[in-house]
């Protein structure tokens, strides 16, 4: 240690051989402070390494602990859906079902009309997605490629509508849809679908997103298409849409997820239980045991599993598109 210190001192001592003074009056004191601490470069390096390892371990402990908290509800959902009701409400909670009750799922298929709700959700999701994609593509194309009077000011108006909370619209949209005759007594399935689909054929945010994407496509491609005698229409479908495909896939998936999660609007505009979507079905289905009058948590959680698993599958297959889309969009639906 001592030896190291002295050699350190030698190296660090400034040698002012030039006729000009060094403009570093504190150099001496810095050397002294290193000596005083009794530490060499090596020991400082070693200590830094130790601190680094410790902080890395602490970071991992922190992150993994929080990650466990985050996935705990999912774990609890899975095991509760496989437990007997007596085990779920027992004073002593178990972290794994003693008897695995697959029959919960069988029962749920009898009580919870999963197939109907799922069918409704898929139909509504498909048609509202197609509509949204078409309007979004057209509008984004016009804003990105075509020039017309008032383009910028119209786009500004579009962007301003994004700031209005949806609840402001729901009341009047309810009135509007009612005046179309889509809700009220004697509502048919088609009318219910229309009421759930048509108001959601626009998303200003997706128009904004796609316009940005279209703008990145170089002018040269457009001019080349013009030289080849292509119309705007075929340029849009042959060049721009294929090039913007990742964004369009993101929009499609987010729209699907939005429909899967929509609860309020379908609840308002549908007259009959069998017209509703999956979230409504989940909350309105009764999982109360007929004999005991108690809520059967096993059945209830099995039903939530059925609603959650398709979303998870979607996530597994389209993780990249979902995370990128959300990162830029940040709104469900």
């Amino acid at each position: 240690m001592e030896k190291n210190n002295s050699s350190n001192k030698k190296i660090n001592k400034p040698v002012n051989s030039s006729p000009y003074p060094i403009f570093a009056p504190d150099v001496d004191s810095i050397v002294i402070s290193i000596e005083e601490a009794g530490r060499t470069v090596d020991s400082i390096k070693r200590q830094e390494k130790v601190t680094h390892i410790i902080s890395t371990i602490l970071t991992y402990i922190f992150i993994v602990a929080l990650a466990l908290v985050v996935i705990f509800p999912f774990y609890w959902m899975i095991i509760t859906s496989l437990k007997q009701n007596s085990e779920i409400t027992n004073v002593n909670q178990t972290f794994f079902p003693t008897i695995v009750m697959w029959s919960n799922y069988v029962y749920v298929f009898q009580v919870f009309d999963f197939v109907t709700f799922m069918g409704n959700t898929i139909v509504v999701a498909i048609f509202s997605t197609i509509g949204t994609l078409l309007t979004t593509i057209f509008a984004a194309f016009a804003f990105a490629r075509l020039k017309f009077k008032g383009r910028e000011s119209l786009f500004l108006v579009f962007l301003m509508t994004m700031m209005i909370p949806g609840e402001m619209m729901v009341i009047s949209n309810y009135v509007t849809v009612a005046s179309f005759g889509w809700i009220g007594e004697g509502q048919t399935l088609i009318e219910a679908y229309a009421a759930m689909i048509v108001p959601f054929w626009i998303s200003v945010f997706y128009i904004y997103l796609l316009r940005q994407n279209f703008k990145q496509i170089p002018n040269e491609l457009y001019l080349a298409a013009k030289v080849d005698g292509k119309s705007d229409w075929s340029f849009l479908w042959r060049v721009m849409v294929p090039l913007a495909m990742p964004t369009l896939i993101s929009i499609t998936i987010l729209k699907f997820m939005g429909t899967w999660n929509s609860y309020v609007w379908p609840n308002l505009v549908t007259q009959e239980e069998s017209f509703r979507l999956i979230s409504n079905g989940l909350r309105s289905s009764s999982f109360v045991d007929v004999d005991s009058g108690q809520t059967e948590y096993g059945y209830q959680t099995a039903a939530t599993m059925l609603v959650t698993v398709p979303l998870f599958l979607l996530f597994v297959f389209f993780r990249k598109y979902i995370m990128r889309g959300v990162g830029r969009a940040g709104i469900k639906g």
């Binding site: 579009f158 909370p165 108001p199 626009i202 609860y263 979230s279 990162g327």
Partner: protein, 357 residues
Amino acid sequence: MFKLKKKEEMVENVNVNADGTAVLSDTTYNEEENVVVRLISHRKNKKPYQITGIEDVSAKNNWKAWLYLGPVIVLIAVFLIYPLINTIFIAFTENYQYASGQFDGFTLNNFGVILNLTPTALGVHEEYFTRYAIPNTFLIVFVTVPISTLLALIISVALNSIKWFQKILQTVFFLPYVTNAIAVGMVFSVIFDDHGIINYIFNTDITWIYGAQPMTAMIPLCLYIIWSSIPFKILVFLSGLQGIDKQYYQAAQIDSCSRGKVLWKITVPLLSPQILYILVTSFIGAFKEYTSVVGLFDGPGTMGENGDPNMETIVFYIYDKLANQTSLAAAAAVFLFVIILLFTLLQFAVSKSRVHY
């Protein structure tokens, strides 16, 4: 060589006008090859070629642009602009009937009624909005937004600093986003059940959900809202963090800054645009909380479907009154809109001096 020469000859035949436009002469004679090179132009000489960008090429298509925009403009007018105006209009009408569109004249009374200043036309005091909806909403906003934003920030910084398993952990933290709000709310109500796992682990005997005190029930509700709002924030923060130049951190390392100092003096200021974006969007989102209450409590309060609506939020109130007391619902919606607008403007005003772009 031959090609180059030919090109040069052709250029000679292009006369450049004083205003910078080029006019091609119609025919030229190439002496070396003894052929007439005919340059065909469909345009008349009076209209010289203009070499400019795409904008002018499309300028003729003005009517076409409106054709492309047609569907969107119709839909936006019907489902966005008109509803906005109409909702404000309904908020000032007395006893609006949505089915017939009839009402009993204009009034300012709706705002007085929801704020419990004046009785309704039937002489009934409407007290749920001031007693439950407003306090609950503000409590949710001021508890969940700061906690979840801070937590998301810390998690993102930690995630950004690790090497192994980064992608997997990132995906795990994103999972709550890919769920159905109602479904997970129901799972949370099982977790917080009287005989649920929370009471078991902490060895307590607290009624959290059904039949609980409103303040106690707020805890699982806020936890659930924080849990479900964190993924989006982490995603935004992480993409922001990955955009920060590494040089700042190297400079801090040379100056041997502590980790806390690096976080508050470098990361947070450089992340301020993302933080502002997250704060604005999550304040708006928290003011509109609704499905979490439905998922957790299966109704407006801890006393079930017909009990006191003690967990009601502003949006819950709006949907509750929508069909039968449309005027009150509209007044509450306008109230919410004004609050959100004020909050957003306030945030932008505060951020002017704090956010570094």
